[in-house]
């Protein structure tokens, strides 16, 4: 049973960061020295502790907390509920950890504008927690908007030309996503006349069977969330925004914000729209296909980048595709994989962005070719980058590997070989690109002709006089967590949390829940998969690093593939013009329309 003291903790993961942010806004100008950094880090750590406590307490049943004590009256839900299960609390705790690490990394970075960075980041943390824990459709949208607005402002923080343009692309495309979500909410409300997931789910199950309005509501909300979650063809803004945001901010975008949007999509699907047959069909086909395509194209685009942060941004797109595959597969095993992959990927990607920040601060650039050999003064960062690259590239240890194994196991019985091939290819491309970068920057390998030509954003640097150990400490902490030190039963715990989420979350706010479920860990059908991926990763990295050592025939064959028009087309479509990005959103919407029509009239 839930301890009543723990029950009162429920609104605090949202309230604590927001209160801390508002307080910092009030007194930030008068605080001496690094007190603002300390306050922000403490607020993030306090949120982490509260979320961890909530995760520990919700093993036997979810915590349902009605805001303002507005319990359902007469069968109608009048207020807003938070439903905190173990899955959501774990994600919330992970995000708070990422923020704490980011605040430590950014210690002393932002001096000029009195604590505004910390205010915006704390509001972002509160919004992410609210988005994760809420059980109300419009409340979900409100926190989505709060996190979007804070993110828009943080992207442009450096006030150079490129961050401003990146922020403009980000804002315009994501605003269109918000409008679509609002339209979807209007449609869903017109059907169900309620906003609570539990109440709405009942009506949608009854009426949604052949109603195009229900399918349209789902599609509109899904497109909005997919824009934020950077799935093809809505992902174009991500590379622009990540490349120009300050490193501590990119840590949060890739580690928390983008994957959480995809988890939100999963929540909407499992809590509201799963009983609608057409939506189920769409999820099994369209979303799975989108996930596979995103993984592959994100990985291939990643290989072609020489700007380190843009490279990492495309790798986020690719791994987001794997998350989308997991969500489309549905079921407790897939969801367990998604949760593990979310946390593992977030930790590794956060560490990699911090390494990029270290390079920017110490070497003064972020272009991979320009940095060749210049990473030697900060060689400990090279060790961390290699470890991260190996984990990104499918090494058979750590949280990311557990997650992808579970997702792979859940793919059994589906078009399994496409899913597995996509995962192998995407993972190998991104891991290979990171390892290639590590080899080039820290070991000086991989000289290329014409590398003296400067890449994009040559005039980039971040504040240089922060101590190296202070920047390396959070990076190391994140990687140690990603390896899974001290979490021997992570797999089993996450699987149980996933199963209980799927069983309890939808109706938790309107009725009693059943007994706690357990799910056995499935055996992996392809135990050699991680090794295959790792081998491919090393091959891809070695290809570029040791160009002079490969036989000419091999080089000619691979160059014919890698420099073909398909690959250059990938670069050309990411051209940074916002009108093109909006056109791609429109193309994606058209794809959804046609698929929904087929799903409705075929099912």
């Amino acid at each position: 049973m839930i301890d009543p003291a723990a029950a009162t903790l429920a609104p605090l993961p949202v309230a604590v960061p927001l209160l801390a942010g508002a307080l910092l806004l009030l007194v930030g100008k008068f605080l001496p020295g690094r007190l603002a950094d300390a306050l922000a880090t403490s607020a993030a750590l306090l949120t982490l502790v509260i979320d961890a406590r909530l995760a520990a307490q919700t093993g036997q049943g979810p915590l349902v907390y009605w805001m303002g004590h507005w319990q359902p009256q007469g069968g109608l839900t009048l207020g807003i509920a938070l439903v905190i299960g173990q899955a959501q609390a774990m994600l919330g705790a992970f995000m708070a950890l990422l923020f704490a690490a980011s605040f430590v990394f950014a210690w002393g970075y932002f001096e000029d504008i009195r604590a505004f960075f910390h205010v915006l980041m704390l509001i972002l943390l509160g919004a992410l927690q609210g988005f994760c824990l809420t059980h109300d459709l419009f409340n979900l949208f409100v926190w989505f908007e709060v996190m979007s607005v804070a993110a828009f402002a943080l992207t442009a923080y450096r006030l150079e030309a490129d961050p401003l343009e990146g922020a403009l692309n980000f804002t315009v495309t994501n605003s269109i996503g918000s409008f679509l979500i609002l339209g979807g909410i209007a449609l869903a409300y017109s059907l169900g006349n309620a906003l609570d997931f539990g109440a709405l789910a009942g009506t949608l199950a009854h009426r949604g069977a052949t109603d195009p309005v229900a399918v349209a509501a789902f599609c509109m909300i899904a497109i909005g969330l997919l824009i934020k979650g950077a799935a093809l063809p809505f992902h174009f803004w991500l590379a622009d925004a990540h490349a120009v945001a300050p490193s501590p901010v990119s840590v949060i975008f890739s580690g928390a914000m983008v994957p959480l949007a995809l988890f939100g999509l999963g929540k909407i699907y499992w809590d509201l729209f799963e009983p609608v047959p057409a939506v189920q069909l769409l999820m099994r086909t369209l979303f799975l296909a989108l996930g596979i395509t995103t993984t592959v194209i994100g990985g291939l685009a990643c290989l072609r980048q020489r700007h380190l942060k843009r490279l990492l941004a495309f790798s986020t797109v690719s791994h987001g595709g794997i998350l989308l595959i997991g969500i489309a597969l549905s079921g407790p095993v897939a969801l367990g994989g998604v949760l593990l992959y979310f946390i593992g990927h977030g930790l590794v990607k956060g560490a990699l962005f911090m390494v990029a920040g270290i390079l920017l601060a110490s070497a003064g650039g972020v272009d991979e070719l320009w940095l060749r050999g210049r990473g030697r003064p900060v060689w400990p960062a090279g060790i961390l980058m290699t470890l991260a690259g190996v984990m990104l590239g499918g090494a058979p240890f750590g949280l990311m590997d557990s997650g992808s194994r579970l997702i792979g196991a859940a793919a059994a019985g589906r078009p399994e070989k496409w899913i597995l091939m996509a995962m192998v290819l995407g993972t190998a491309c991104t891991g290979g690109a990171v390892l290639r970068g590590a080899g080039r920057i820290f070991l000086g390998l991989g000289a290329m002709a014409g590398e003296e030509a400067r890449g994009p954003t040559d005039e980039e640097s971040e504040k240089p006089d922060r101590p190296l150990w202070l920047m390396m400490l959070p990076t190391a902490v994140l990687l140690v967590a990603a390896v899974g030190v001290g979490m021997p039963h992570a797999d089993a715990m996450v699987l149980h949390a996933a199963a209980r989420f799927l069983a309890w979350d939808r109706s938790a706010s309107v009725g009693p829940v059943g007994p706690p479920l357990t799910v056995g860990a499935p055996q992996s059908a392809h135990p050699f998969m991680p090794w295959l991926t790792l081998a491919l990763t090393v091959l891809i990295a070695a290809h570029d690093l040791g160009r002079s050592r490969w036989p000419k025939t091999w080089l000619r064959a691979t160059d014919r593939v890698l420099c073909s028009s398909w690959f250059t087309a990938i670069d050309r479509t990411h051209d940074g013009v916002v009108g093109d990005y909006v056109l791609w959103i429109l193309l994606g919407t058209a794809l959804f329309s046609v698929s929904s029509a087929v799903a409705l009239y075929a099912g």
């Binding site: 607005v149 442009a156 006030l159 343009e165 315009v172 918000s178 017109s190 013009v577």
Partner: protein
């Protein structure tokens, strides 16, 4: 008459997105985003409307008078605040881009041009 609000909302959204895609000046683009936002206001308010009802204010009326749905009106209020603040942020971004790049033509603004 039954379909007019929905058609209006769809039309406004379409016009707005056409404007965003073909815009040559960022302030115009921001105006088009506002037009798209108006589409959502109309859609939301129309869902909650009821013929023969009054506004949900019972100051001089008995509270059993039929009234429209206040929840949607509260949602639109939130929506308007969202729109106003995002517009302010976008305009500030546009101002700074103009100072830095000298242009506010979306076709010519590309981050990280190689």
């Amino acid at each position: 008459m039954n379909y007019l609000p929905w058609v209006t909302a769809a039309w406004l959204f379409a016009v707005g997105i056409y404007g965003v895609m073909t815009s040559r000046h960022y302030v115009h683009l921001i105006g088009c985003l506002t037009v798209m936002q108006s589409a959502t206001y109309i859609a939301l308010l129309s869902v909650g409307y009821r013929f023969g009802s009054v506004a949900p204010i019972f100051y001089a009326r008995s509270d059993s008078t039929p009234a429209v749905d206040p929840v949607l009106q509260a949602m639109v209020l939130t929506d308007i605040v969202v729109g106003a603040t995002v517009t302010a942020l976008l305009l500030a971004l546009t101002l700074q881009v103009h100072k830095k790049r000298g242009t506010v033509n979306p076709e010519r603004l590309r981050p990280l041009r190689p």
